[in-house]
Amino acid sequence: MSLFLAIIFGIGFGYILYRVGALDYKNILNALILKDLSIPKFMLLSVAITSVGIFSLRLNGLVTLDVITANPLGNILGGLIFGIGFALAGYCPGTSIGAMGEGKKDARYTVLGGIVGVFVYTIFQQYTGFSIASFDIGKLSLVDIIHLNAFSVSVIFTITLVLIIYLVDIWEQKKSNIIQERTIKYVEK
């Protein structure tokens, strides 16, 4: 049953990513060159909703969390490296699979590159004994840092995210107004 659910959830996730345009190179690129921040706003809004949702369900014990261990070195360095690849490929590991389903050839190469990347990283780890495990600081979440009950923290977190999304949206509108004004002036000249 659980395995059957995996496919259903996968189809739903892939379909949502398709409908919102997250499987398109153009939209990811426009986000990274700060031309159209729809995708980051979409991601943050989903996080805001999920966060307050799961923490309220958790009050009744309906949801269990699975926090990934924080490792500041790994998370930050890994994230920085990831960002470079993200900008070059225009897909993330998940969306490249969906875009591959759509029939995009470049996404197929991203997936292939990913598999080779994992292979090289694992071999490197295997033969050098390289490990960053000593930098693990435990399964930390904001609840461990802000000393309030978990649900209140999630409410504050959600409100903060919505505020950030709102400010980003205002900034984007201002920017597009300026561009419009410039174009009008240019045309008048």
Binding site: F9, L17, L45, V63, I76, L77, I84, L88, G113
Partner: protein
Amino acid sequence: MKARWSWVTGGIVLGVFNILIFLSGNHLGTTTAYAQTTGYITQFFSATFIPISSWTAGTCGTTGTLGVSWQWLLLIGIFLGGFLGKIIHGKGITKTVPDPWVERFGDRPRLRLSHAFIGGFIMLIGSRLAGGCTSSHIISGMSQMAVSGLLFGAAVFISGIPVAILLYRRNDR
């Protein structure tokens, strides 16, 4: 343009959808499945070359066996989801080289494909180092207010934005 959802609609739908995933007792994540796939391939050629534990040593938290896992089937689902979206709403043929790329670098499929490959290569090395990717660290991790997810999410955009701007600097309008 195809029938596209606004970011508001998309955000609400994914937000609620992700709550359902949590309710089912599962969590989104795709990096581990990449490692498992690579594991299948090397196991096929040699069982001793790299021990199974190196592949299953989890990024996004899975069991210790190398089998068809939840995450792997999730990936199959994502593939089918993209395929369905294309069939239901898509029209026309899928281009190998995306439009912004053609504007900036010209219609050069090989250049685009090599960037896509190198991008995927770098991305998954980063993912393995960070212990997760966009789905597990941002969509799932940040929802749980995980410190790992917040750090990762910030780092991705801190490096991704300048690299993309540099790549497209001449076309920047």
